[in-house]
Symmetry: C2
Subunit: 465 residues, 2 copies
């Protein structure tokens, strides 16, 4: 009976949760904050800790130095099944403000929260807890059956929160091996809700700019010149105020060009209930915004945005200062819809701004990041059905095909460099896990079900297609 | 021959310039910076110094303490002529940045500048040098003729650069005496050019606000919420960007109500040549702005402005931060045209902003100063002609009737509290005197001609009307 090894593996997982949680605690205890130089050694320790987890299971583990933190590559060659590349990251965000944590962030304390048991700590959800669901699934298979049902390469990096170039360089170097993968599994996203898993099938891209407008050579007395010399801060407001209509539709010609969202994903987005009330509760905003002919999910996942993130200009100290400021600048980021490329968006924005900038003010638009395209994966790939069924078996709920309105640089790097058609973002975090915030945590039952989910997926990927 | 005493007085002035300059040097040497508490004693010393100048001339001098720096009242009662109140101030601006001064700011060094002799130092022009032109004219009259040709009260304050409420309180207290003045003379403004004196006949008023827009309860991740939650910084840009048309005309209904400029002043403003090229050179701006059907002078003097002086919102540090900021605010000041009142303008602005603010964003508009009305004096007052003729006699050039685009709180206080119809702003500063800046200076020939001008004016005001 072919199900036997899977059932034994699932049982093994169920019976060894305490040990699995203890191992996660050990990993949480290593403060591998990638953005702070004083934690360089902790990042090294986390990499070593993972090596010591994977080697005894039969993985061939190598630690690859980068210009920043090391990347672990762990290969397991099975005699049958597909070849799967798994991605996770061992680095975590800083813990500031530390005073807001109810428990020390590197202790992995178990506590009750809203009637559920959670493990607390920085990285408990993002991404140590999630990454360990996959490793624990591999461990259970190997302990119970002596091998994995398919070939696996784990790539575990230490710069997800820090520097996307480390993984890019690594992928370029190892492309000859990795591009042979049948499927890429990335575990760093959310489930749809407590009862429903999700496959994240689209990401928005990102471009970032600094827009500067220069007027007079220095700040001017507004009494002596007010009315005859144009104020660059006001020009900035006019330009940035002319970007959107009142519903948030961006008026830059070409801004909505090249959006490509497979119909399957669009239909799914229309069907997924996205509650305006819970959005208002989460954000404290007074009203929902957005174009009337798009659902909330469609807006968040499949439409580009133009966001002013900050403005610097003129007098910002106490009291009033009657000046016409000499210069004004704004920080801008745009989310790109699936299919959209940074360079094209930049061209459209630049043309629009230059066309609308009055002649007396000098405009410069500087790109401040490399830019990432928006991405939608192919929802009709054969392995998509295989994995959806495996998740359905575990959760007794059809996984939601969801989008993510943010950008995940590593995913873009995998997609662009390795060009693997089947790229699955399967994560088990919840919206309320407080990732990147004080009191990050991960539900223990989610940790358990996540591990069981990977066991089912690995088993399904090992079956003859 | 009635001209004799004036001619003798003018000759006395000519022959005693060296001593007059030495006295100005003494006054400049007292660092009476009113805004810095450590210079409180210097302000007291400057007041005492002035008392010691005026008492020997026969003025009855009293020093009036205020909540800030003392005000000097010096009364001289003549047997004939009008009753004139003269205003000047002995306090000066701070000297930062001190490193940019070519000579110590409190030495009153004489140097050549562009072929002209000037006295340098903080206050050389604003207002010690100008104030002393009047005192030296009084001194010359009294030395030469034994008395002044008309009755004079000098009010010399120490808070012009610091706190307008000191003079207001003083004027309210002394209103019973001061409101009897036939004419108010204020010496703290500019001539038209090197060869042409000026009477400043209008001032713009001022209102100041802080506009705040609140959206979500805290900064939001622009990937997770971008497109469905409105960005208050963008709303701020839309509101502030909708204030002006492309020529600078303010689109707020009622914004141009209640402007009252006497036709004489408007005609003068149309005739005065105001060079766009020199404005561009002074400011380093690329272009002149402003409504096409108004001359530069009309725009600067008789039109209100809406100026964004500063914006604070979102991320202003290095790098990019993909947020929807929670709150955004702007510092705004408006110059009011003659006739306009702060309260009416505030109502118009508030109505416009509230009407155009989208419902999802909370708007607050806070006044940050008391506000000052715009002011135009009556150019057809009989004493105006008297004084114009006196100035013409000295300069051999008709004085220009000019406006000032800024606000002079003390003038407004005199006008509103004493309600004197004839309020003359006659000053001798030049545009390039570097007032409020490093290397302030005052032309010695201007100091000389300014003193002679006051002698002629005092004489004219002493003649039977």
């Amino acid at each position: 009976m072919t199900q036997d090894p899977l059932q034994r593996t699932l049982k093994h997982i169920d019976q060894n949760q305490t040990q699995a949680i203890d191992r996660l605690k050990e990993l949480i205890a290593i403060p591998s904050i990638s953005t702070l130089p004083e934690h360089q050694k902790d990042c090294d320790s986390a990499a070593q800790w993972l090596k010591h987890q994977l080697e005894p299971l039969g993985f061939e583990v190598s630690i690859h130095p980068t210009h920043s933190h090391p990347i672990i590559k762990a290969d397991y060659t099975a005699s049958t099944g597909s070849y799967v590349v798994f991605y996770g990251h061992y680095d975590v965000q800083p813990v500031d403000p530390i005073s807001q944590w109810h428990h020390p962030p590197f202790e992995g304390k178990i506590k009750d929260m809203d009637g559920k048991k959670v493990i607390t700590g920085r990285g408990a959800s993002d991404d140590k807890g999630q990454m360990m669901t996959f490793i624990e699934a591999c461990r259970a298979f190997i302990h119970e059956t002596g091998s994995l049902p398919c070939s696996v390469t784990c790539i575990l990096e230490g710069d997800e929160e820090n520097d996307p170039s480390a993984i890019s360089t690594f992928l370029k170097t190892h492309k000859p091996q990795l591009e042979n993968a049948d499927c890429l599994l990335i575990c760093d996203t959310q489930n749809w809700n407590e009862h429903t898993p999700a496959i994240t099938t689209s990401l928005r891209g990102l471009v970032a700019y600094e827009l500067t407008l220069s007027g007079p050579a220095s700040d001017l007395h507004s009494g002596m010149y007010g009315g005859v010399i144009q104020n660059p801060l006001q020009v900035l407001c006019q330009l940035l105020g002319s970007i959107h209509d009142r519903h948030g539709h961006v008026l830059i010609p070409g801004f909505y060009d090249d959006i490509h969202v497979p119909e399957t994903l669009r239909n799914q987005a229309r069907q997924l209930p996205f509650s305006p009330d819970s959005l208002l509760e989460e954000t404290g905003a007074q009203a929902i915004w957005g174009e009337p002919n798009h659902s909330i999910a469609e807006t968040l996942w499949f439409l580009p945005t133009f966001e002013v993130n900050g403005i610097i200009g003129g007098h910002i100290g106490d009291g009033c200062k009657t000046i016409i400021p000499s210069v004004a600048s704004a920080k801008i980021t745009c989310r790109l819809a699936p299919g959209q490329q940074p360079m094209a968006i930049t061209t459209h924005i630049e043309q629009f701004l230059k066309q609308h900038c009055p002649s007396g003010t000098k405009l410069t638009l500087k790109s401040t990041c490399e830019g990432m395209p928006g991405l939608a994966i192919n929802p009709d790939h054969q392995l998509m059905y295989t994995i959806q069924n495996a998740l359905n078996d575990e959760w007794q709920a059809r996984p939601a095909l969801i989008g993510f309105g943010g950008s995940i640089p590593a995913t873009i790097a995998f997609h662009e460099i390795l060009n693997i058609d089947c790229c699955m973002l399967i994560g088990f975090a919840s919206r309320d896990d407080n990732i990147h915030a004080p009191n990050e945590h991960f539900g223990l039952s989610t940790f358990h079900r996540g591990t069981r989910s990977w066991a089912r997926i690995l088993w399904a990927l090992g079956l003859p297609s």
